[in-house]
Symmetry: C2
Subunit: 435 residues, 2 copies
């Protein structure tokens, strides 16, 4: 086969055969095809796209370059979940123990955050001693023993994806439905859960500004899941404003703990409960959403969901006293309350700006080498639709220094838009995409 012909074929809008995609990914991963040819091919994919069959073949070609865990051969059903990433997204920290407490196994590998705030792994690392980097054997042992495990992404799964993602990151080829879908799904297929719930956010990412743009990505991943034998459902959810009130790392863990006790902000709590119930229905644990939601509530009220989180954190070496007494989690030395500059209804809180401000406070990474400060972040005091009088609390800034808190004040205020008339926020879950 000939690389240049394959680049030209995609450039000219033709569909690639499975054998061509397999050959390209295999030889690229082995270092036999140079980066400069692959990046031209990736840009041709951004241009021409890939159909569902090509995207599935690309996904499986990447899976085949590495190890596979086949979790569903150990316990079944076993669920996995993935979010395309939002500001204030602590849903995994809630949903994983909640579902596990309802008797469905959870095997989850999660990424570090690049862009805006930390990823789930960064947030959980606020907990002292917690080990998110597990060997294959540790991961499988904890999973088999506790029916729940939450680890960092292993480089041994779909290594082609890691290599290609690094190249996409520096060649302007991140934004492509086929490339995003295959990147996410290759890691999910390599883990090998039986059921997968995806949360596709719209309204913040450059490429997914609208529902219309989120839908093809959700549909493509559901299709790939089906073709690969994983029962996959995608929720299309709004990122019109941050999820919940806490944005950062330790502050988000605290909020997750509150949600597991039935005490968190309503928007993100509802989303967590909805996703957990959806997973119970998907896996056949409950016959319908009504019954599933009742079971979820029972797991919260009884404290079993909270206990399950303690169990997995303990199994991975974390200090559970910090969960029982959240005031022991890392705290920022400086707290400054930003007041409402005017009276009015809050009409918008730009999630991207909130994320960027949070990064500047140290809670996210500008480059891969940056070290996250788990203490810093923001606590929103009001959300879209709330009415504030002038000088009422708007955002609590958790910073390392007064200077850093002051430096982001103007940018933070710029995230807000106001209305004289009452405002209703859009529903958080726009649509469920099912196979």
């Amino acid at each position: 086969m000939n690389v240049v012909q394959m680049i030209e074929k995609k450039r000219d809008g033709f569909v690639l055969a499975k054998e061509e995609i397999d050959w390209l990914i295999q030889h690229y991963t082995q270092g036999e095809i140079p980066d400069y040819q692959l990046s031209a091919w990736l840009m041709a994919i951004c241009w021409r796209g890939m159909d569902a069959r090509e995207t599935r073949d690309l996904t499986l070609a990447m899976v085949n370059t590495g190890d596979q865990l086949h979790l569903r051969d150990i316990v079944s059903p076993v669920i996995d979940k993935h979010s395309t990433g939002g500001v204030g997204d602590k849903v995994t920290i809630v949903v994983a123990p909640l579902v596990a407490a309802c008797g469905v196994a959870v095997g989850k590998m999660t990424g570090r955050g690049l862009g805006y705030t930390g990823g789930t792994i960064d947030k959980l690392e606020s907990i002292e001693g917690l080990r998110m980097t597990l060997t294959r054997e540790e991961f499988l042992r904890i999973f088999a023993q506790h029916h729940i495990v939450l680890a960092g992404q292993s480089g041994d799964l779909a290594p082609a994806d890691g290599k290609i993602y690094a190249l996409r990151d520096v060649t302007g080829t991140v934004e492509s439905v086929a490339l995003i879908a295959s990147s996410i799904m290759s890691k999910k297929i390599a883990i090998g859960a039986s059921h997968l719930l995806l949360d596709v956010k719209y309204g913040s990412r450059v490429s997914v500004k609208t529902v219309e743009q989120a839908y093809p990505l959700a549909q493509m991943m559901v299709d790939i899941g089906k073709l690969a034998g994983i029962h996959t459902v995608a929720a299309i959810t709004s990122m019109a404003q941050p999820l919940g009130k806490a944005v950062g790392n330790a502050v988000e863990v605290k909020e997750a703990l509150a949600i597991l006790k039935g005490e968190g902000p309503q928007d993100v709590a509802d989303l967590c409960y909805h996703e957990a119930a959806e997973l119970l229905v998907m896996t056949g644990k409950e016959p319908n959403m009504l019954a599933a939601e009742a079971r979820v509530m029972e797991a919260l009220r009884s404290g079993r969901a909270f206990e399950k989180l303690l169990e997995v954190i303990a199994a991975q070496g974390g200090n559970t006293r910090q969960l029982e007494q959240p005031e022991l989690l890392p705290q920022a030395p400086v707290r400054v309350m930003l007041l409402a500059p005017r009276a009015g209804y809050i009409a918008g809180i730009r999630a991207e700006t909130i994320g960027l401000v949070s990064m500047r406070l140290g809670a996210g990474r500008f480059s891969k080498k940056d070290v996250i400060d788990h203490r810093t972040g923001l606590i929103l005091q009001a959300k879209i639709g709330d009415y504030r009088r002038e000088n009422e609390p708007l955002v609590e800034i958790h910073a390392r220094t007064e200077t850093e808190a002051e430096a982001i004040r103007a940018e933070l205020l710029g995230a807000y838009s106001w209305s004289e008339a009452p405002v209703s926020p859009d529903p958080l879950v726009h649509e469920m995409v099912r196979p």
Copy 2:
């Protein structure tokens, strides 16, 4: 500036600023931007294109990476010509001495052929002793002394183009109006003639199948020439069939010699005379085409055009006896006449197939390392519109061995299409694009 942002800007269809293009080309040429980023950018250009201003800026950015000869500061007017490449294209070998014999200086650097037949430089190297690789000083001295010079392309001119072309060649990014136009024009601007005649072929190249596709390329190059202060005219000419009858290297030099004596095949002779006359009008040497054509004919009849070719070949060390007695040029050991397989009017002779067959005989290069055999090639015995009876001569094959001649027979016949009814070939010159 940020390379990824610049890739994304072009990917998303925006126009790049001059400063951005300058920065990118300069840093790429200095090895500070990796190939994998440039190839993604080049594919984004294939996708989104570049407007005339961007293409001019890209062209000048490439010019600025190297030396410039400023020929028009030595003698003015001085003409340059360029053909996008056709099968049987020996026009430069005729037009250069013809125009010089009419008193207009010619400074021409020419490429080696890759794809189908050799380039002008390969064809001329059929002549014993001829030196096409000249130093800058030799090039300028011969030009100043003889007002004509024909050399191989110097790597010192627009080195960015050389580096970028090599990358395009292996990343499927050759076919782009902006990239083709800037590549050609960067070398022309670096040489610095006052007048430039371009011959844009349609009907053979993958990217330029129709007049509609040739026109934007011609227009783009005329625009860039104008913006760069070179009076540029483009002829859009048909490659529906090979030019003239000889296809190869020594056989084409022989045909060029015949044309310079007024004896060559009518199609290619007319094109040469037309281009020469156009150049005399462009440079103001003659007031109109009628007067220019008369002067061209006089240069042919008087033998001064032929003498001028001898003069420049001698100045560059070539054995002029081979021009005075063309039978001394390299000759293939085997000549086989392919006969018409049927009676009929010749309706088509696919130039690409003729070129490919000629390559297989040794007259062109499959890869850069291949060595050209100057002896081999084809002599068409009939062209579109001619009537052949069955078993009348169709093509004379000049080969190294009987076996090689036999091996291409079926493919060669496949280049021909036939008609029962008379056929008129399309006019060779479709249109002149002027500033």
